[in-house]
Symmetry: D2
Subunit: 80 residues, 4 copies
């Protein structure tokens, strides 16, 4: 009868809604995990780039010192 | 009456289900976009690391050539 | 007698002259050897200095190449 | 007469002896100057070589420091 029919429809809709909300929670959990991963990756990248910049400054220093050494050698050759 | 009551409950459930499915689609779209972003970031990181490795090899070459130059200078000093 | 006396003086002077001329020849030989030694030393010094100048140019080249490598690293870091 | 003849020979010999001794003194002076020049040149050469050796040690230091920098870059690339 009609009351039974309505009851079945209501149960089916309630089940579908439950499944969709479960899938929603799962998607939100994955999204949050991915965003956190992305954020920690970003911090790693910045630390990496900071390390590289510090290496670049050290390389600048070495090139400067080699140039000083080169100038000392040049003066020594010309003075001899 | 009862038939009216059921009809209202059914409409309310159908609306909630529609909203939850819409949110689902939106979450899946964000997840997919984030995964693609992550993948392209990964490719960038690999290209960056490949560039750094090639710079490292060039640095190795320069250090090797400076060492040869140093040996030539050492021999020249000792032979004089 | 006087003739004898003169003869002795002449012999003594001739001997002294001979000794002094011998010493002269010996001094001229040493001087000539020393001048030749000095000249070959001068050529060695010039060859040595030419070698050093060529090493200096090679050092210039290496410093230039290290500076290019440094610039490439700097661009790579800034582009990442 | 004979006495006159002897006297002339003696004077001629004495003059020649004087000239040869003068040349001797002049040669000894040049020899001594050349030896002193050579000695001071030798000291210059040793000071020059000492400077070059000290530059060589500085170059060794720079090459060592570039190698350390290279190793730090290699570890950074591999750890990323």
């Amino acid at each position: 009868d009609v009351a039974n029919e309505f009851q079945l429809q209501k149960e089916s809709l309630t089940q579908k809604l439950q499944d969709t909300e479960d899938r929603n929670l799962s998607l939100e959990a994955r999204l949050s995990a991915l965003e956190q991963h992305e954020q920690s990756r970003q911090l790693e990248r910045e630390a990496f780039r900071a390390h590289l910049r510090s290496l670049l400054q050290m390389l600048d220093g070495k090139i400067f010192e080699l140039t000083e050494l080169r100038d000392t050698l040049a003066k020594l050759i010309e003075s001899s």
